[in-house]
């Protein structure tokens, strides 16, 4: 499971946790997140998320 950081507000999307408030189940990989999903904190687009290198 990977983590992705929003380039606008630094919110972290953790694939293990998903984004249940937006209907994204835990375990959802970023590539499976719908393209119209937005950052829950600032509203940035999915494309604004960058992979956090471990």
């Amino acid at each position: 499971m990977r983590k992705w950081r929003c380039a606008i507000c630094n919110h972290v999307y953790d694939e293990a946790e998903g984004d249940p408030d937006s209907g994204i189940a835990p375990g959802t990989k970023m590539e499976d997140v719908p393209d119209d999903w937005c950052c829950p904190d600032c509203g940035a687009e999915k494309a604004d998320f960058e992979l956090i290198e471990e």
Binding site: N10, D41, G43
Partner: protein, 298 residues
Amino acid sequence: MATHPMDDIPVRRLRFKLDEDGAEESHHPIWSRSCPDFSMIINALGIHVPYFERFLVEVMRKYRGELSDPKLEKDVHALMGQEAFHAFNFVGWTKAMAHYYPGLTKLDDEAREYFEHALATRDKKFQIGFTAGYETFTFLGGMIVLDRYEEFMADADPKIRALWVWHQVEEVEHGAVAFDFYKAFYPKAEWYRRWMVVYAFGHILGQTFKAYAAMVRGEGYYRKPLRALRAWRFFLSFGWDLAYAAFPVLRRKYHPRNHPKCNEEQNRVAVAWREHISRGADPLSLTDGDVEQMLERV
């Protein structure tokens, strides 16, 4: 009846792309021909404000789960969105300006480090109080700039003018949220709130002074002492206007929604800009023709 500018805060996901290659050649830091000294002071503010905005987003993210008022939760969410996009765009503008003023890179680093340190080491009350204190001045600054639009921006670079009009309009829109956030946690700590207003003013003035000095030097104004004197007189005058506008903030019954600068009459430029954007106009540029057209409608 016109709605209050602080109702239903929208998040406008704008990207000015000022950190892209070539932007520094297209947009000179002295972007206002109407008032070059205004360009410098607002640019100087724009060095440290983005890092404060990121600090604010992190503080709100850290403590918003403790809120119980759904309206405030909604406003906090919108505030975080607006501030995150401001910071993203203004860090880009600083990068573009650093081509002209090499000293800015060091100030940019210092501003980032200051807020990262405050986030890592200061307690909850300071973080929330400082956020409210600092936001007092971004809100008041927004009102002052919009009220003096003609003097400051009538003849200006369309893109940088659009950047600042957007920023100032949104600073007014969310001008009460950090105050309400503080009140939700510390409803009775009025003296601490006032102290944070004074403390934040000192911080803003100090940081802006350093950046402004780098710009006055960068423009070569010290080779013409009268020009340098005029620039510093403008700095003092703007600083005084900001401080004077903050006096009502120190009252016990103060609330940003009731600040005389906000509630007596909505700013014409702000109203016109919102209308302009809602019609689908390009928010990334404000040519003289755009401004003329949008002001004609209100």
